[in-house]
């Protein structure tokens, strides 16, 4: 038996060799994962376990200041996870289980944070609710100190709950209404059903949402920089260690400390939660979902969600409004100076660079993501799980760490003997003024989204459809081009849009990689915020969002949305 199994693997390998195109693609993908993702991470590991690194480890672990920073980070992550999951759950619950007006509006509000720069909300919160906030001081007359844990949790929960919302909403919709009906039939009350059926079924989704938000929160750099005040977390300490102290070794050591909970969550998420999930998505709900009729519950929940929506609208409204006034929160005269500064000053280069680099990275990331998805779902060979895992690290690892990894890995050319394998990528003197490193980081951070949506849509396509094509005489390439690709086009499209928005709005991963030659908008926004020029920052944000929206429009026009797979993918 063993012999036959070995020969099986040998056969798979030979089949791979027989398909040279597939082999080339596979080697390219492996090369990408190794160089763009694994190498930077291993550079950090190497640096922190070096002779200079190890004593720092000992110092950081025993130093109360650093212990406090770690504690701060964990507390913030936990709170953001809990509050954000709560908000996401509420939004999802209202969408799926309540029959109330304004549901589309709520959905739209929940999606807005995806296309907004990461710390736009933080800045806006300062203007509205800070010490001189136009609401806190202007209306209520209090000098509220928004800097610190309170403000961070408030802003981050509102910025990140979109994932939770989409996650839980999908699961709630997939819940078979027959389960509710069965419970009612057995005499259970609404509340009892909620406690004993709905919640337990959603528990894996809730847990995974919490973990996602936890990681997102502890990995975030923009918000703590803007809003942290004296509340220091690992991400900001890493930033200070690099930018202020220029101590890459110290930053690497701190990165490892931040990496541990992030990777732990990633692994738990990947190998445990996916397994205990009990919601089976059959695609064919066997009944109509029951809506909640109790008016107190219904309108109570409605009021809470509407209040949160209005808060979000208010915060974003303040950004839009603030872009057109002299000094937001202080002088309300109408002005176009901020836009003049952005469009005709330094900003114009940042706009161009950011858009061009994101535009280059997006299709590449989409192609890489879809190719990995195709190979992972459809091809049999040893180590395909590793390929998937490696690619996913691009997002599982906090952006700050990726950025530092790039500095460590690519600050000098990588040579074997006298041959340059990879030239110096980071810093002003690097090729393309360091732009290549930024594009690579954009790709690295975007591939996972394309990969996951690719895997999801490929698993929906019955392999028999591809086999039918082969059986009718088409080869692998023709099958992929004519059958697979058109069927996963909507997923590809969603992946593209998401990847582009993500690249345009990212800060943590590229903040260490921008150079005088290559300017990035989020970095510029941060500069303006740190210097208190909120008007300029808001103008940047407005333009950034506008670019993203225009790009989405262009994508829609080019790619179209009503393609094959939006009809039925099962071939039935």
């Amino acid at each position: 038996m063993q012999g036959i199994r070995n020969s099986q693997q040998a056969k798979q390998f030979r089949a791979l060799l027989k398909d040279p195109l597939l082999l080339v693609v596979l080697l390219f993908l492996i090369f990408f994962v190794v160089v763009a993702i694994l190498l930077p991470i291993f550079s950090i590991v190497g640096e922190s376990f070096s002779e200079e690194g190890l004593p720092l480890f000992r110092r950081y672990v025993t130093d109360p200041v650093y212990q406090n920073i770690v504690l701060n980070t964990l507390v913030m992550g936990t709170l953001v996870g809990a509050v954000g999951t709560g908000i996401g759950f509420l939004f999802a619950f209202v969408q799926v289980k309540l029959d109330v007006p304004f549901k589309r509006f709520m959905h739209f509000v929940a999606l807005v944070p995806v296309i907004s720069p990461p710390f736009a909300l933080a800045t806006s919160a300062i203007v509205l609710f800070g010490r001189s906030g136009s609401i806190s001081r202007g209306i209520f007359g209090v000098r509220y100190d928004i800097y610190g844990l309170n403000g961070l949790v408030f802003v981050m929960a509102l910025s990140f709950f979109t994932i939770t919302y989409l996650n839980l909403r999908g699961m709630m919709e997939a819940l078979d209404p027959a389960l509710d009906e069965a419970a009612i039939n057995l005499g259970a009350s609404r509340w009892r059903i909620f406690r004993t059926v709905t919640i337990p079924m959603l528990l894996p989704g809730i847990a995974s949402s919490f973990l996602l938000l936890f990681v997102e929160a502890i990995a975030d750099l923009g918000n703590p920089l803007v809003l942290g005040g004296n509340y220091e977390v690992l991400a900001t300490r890493i930033y200070v260690t690099i930018i202020g102290l220029y101590n890459p070794t110290g930053a690497a050591v701190l990165s490892i400390i931040l990496l541990i909970p992030s990777l732990l969550v990633f692994v738990v998420q990947r190998y445990w939660i996916s397994r205990i999930s009990v919601v089976s998505v059959t695609g064919k709900p066997a009944g109509t979902p029951q809506t909640i009729k109790n008016p107190y519950v219904k309108w109570g929940l409605f009021a809470v969600v509407m209040f949160i929506c209005l808060l979000v609208v208010l915060l974003y409204g303040a950004i839009l409004h603030g872009a057109f006034v002299t000094v937001p929160g202080v002088r309300w005269d109408f002005t176009l100076d901020h836009f003049d500064f952005v469009l005709n000053g330094i900003g114009s280069q940042a706009m161009r660079d950011t858009t061009v680099l994101s535009g280059i990275a997006t299709p590449i990331a989409a192609v890489i993501g879809i190719l990995i998805a195709y190979i992972v779902v459809r091809k049999q060979f040893l180590g395909r799980d590793l390929l998937d895992f490696g690619a996913m690290l691009g997002i599982a690892v906090p952006g700050t760490i990726i950025g530092i990894g790039y500095i460590l890995a690519f600050n000098t050319p990588i040579m074997i003997g006298d041959v340059t394998i990879i030239p110096k990528l980071t810093g002003g003197q690097a090729i393309f003024g360091g732009a290549l490193a930024i594009v690579l980081v954009y790709i690295t951070r975007s591939v996972p989204a394309a990969l996951r949506s690719g895997v999801a849509s490929l698993s929906q396509i019955d392999p028999a459809i591809e086999e039918a094509s082969i059986s009718l005489g088409a080869d692998t390439v023709r099958t992929f081009r004519k059958i697979t690709l058109p069927l996963i086009r909507p997923a590809l499209f969603a992946g593209l849009v998401y990847a582009f928005a993500r690249s345009m709005t990212t800060i943590s991963a590229i903040i260490f990689l921008t150079t005088p030659q290559t300017k990035i908008m989020t970095q510029q926004i941060l500069n303006e915020v740190e210097n208190g020029r909120y008007g300029n920052a808001f103008a940047y944000c407005v333009i950034l969002v506008a670019i993203v929206l225009v790009a989405i429009g262009v994508f829609y026009a080019l790619v179209g949305t009503k393609t094959g797979a939006e009809r039925r993918t099962k071939g039935e």
Binding site: I4, L472, E572
Partner: protein, 363 residues
Amino acid sequence: MNEQSKQVLLKLVDIVKEFPDRSGHGAVRAVDDVSLDIYDGEFLTLLGPSGCGKTTTLRLIAGFEIPNLGKILLEERDITQQPPNKRDMALVFQNYALFPHMSVYDNVAYGLQSQKMPRAQVKDKVTTSLSIIGLAGLEGRRPNQLSGGQQQRVALARSLVMEPRILLFDEPLSNLDAKLRVQMRSEIHRLQRSLGITSIYVTHDQVEAMALSDRIVVMNKGKIEQIGTPEEIYRYPKTRFVADFIGRANFLPATVSSTQNGSASLTVMGKQIDTRAPFEIEVGTVVTVMLRPEALTLRVDASLPQGVIEQAMYLGTEIEYMVRLDDIVITIVDNDPRKQHMFAEGETIGIDFIPEAVHLLPD
């Protein structure tokens, strides 16, 4: 088909196919040392319960799986390693596997276009094949705008238009409702007979297999149990498994009273009968014989063995009885429309059988 026309088209030689099992450490043998000749022009069915290896065998023939051991020969040419798109076969899938983003026309034309056939010729062939299959006028529709039966026809047309050397069917009717299944079954029968195209058909439905096939291959646990015409398989099953799987069967003990070259005298339920004995049996031993339910009758006759009716079900075309005789329960079907009487549950009654229907099984 007469003996002279029997030319072997496809030959499976000692095929073994294993898959890794759930744990990933061991292996499951899906096809276990299968050898099989398929004749030119015949309709052959692979029949068996789920997990018997019939679909894997079909996929090996189609080329979607490569055997661990053994060879596949098409017209004496070794095609074991040949990729599926190079094999002159077309597979009709269980769930049709129509391309959802293409029209009916594009679905049917797809294979011909892969061959780079000129456009006009493609059009000709597609139109002809759609009209043969009764789908003329639906060229512009999408698969999801068709009924289940129409989708199945498109799938069939898409394979037929390729004029393959061998047509493969993987349980093509299992997604259709009962009425439509019967209708499509006779359609496939008609088409195959008129086109004379060699077909290999996989099903777990024995009625379908009997209705369509020239020969049936009954498979169980990766092995071939029996190959034969529908009649041979039904009347003379070689094993207890085949007897039980095809139709319904009663297994009764019989005592061997004498044997002579290829036949034997047995005592079954007190009655002395003669039957074929294609294998060695010893005089005096107890053997197992098979009797189909319709070969048994119930009669008020005190000289017959007396059984008690445990269950009586009126099914319209027949009446089905479960009758206890000593420690075994015998299924008896009465499908004689001349008889109007139905015996009641609990009644004690005489059991008789048609001696010619007794079939001896090996142990």
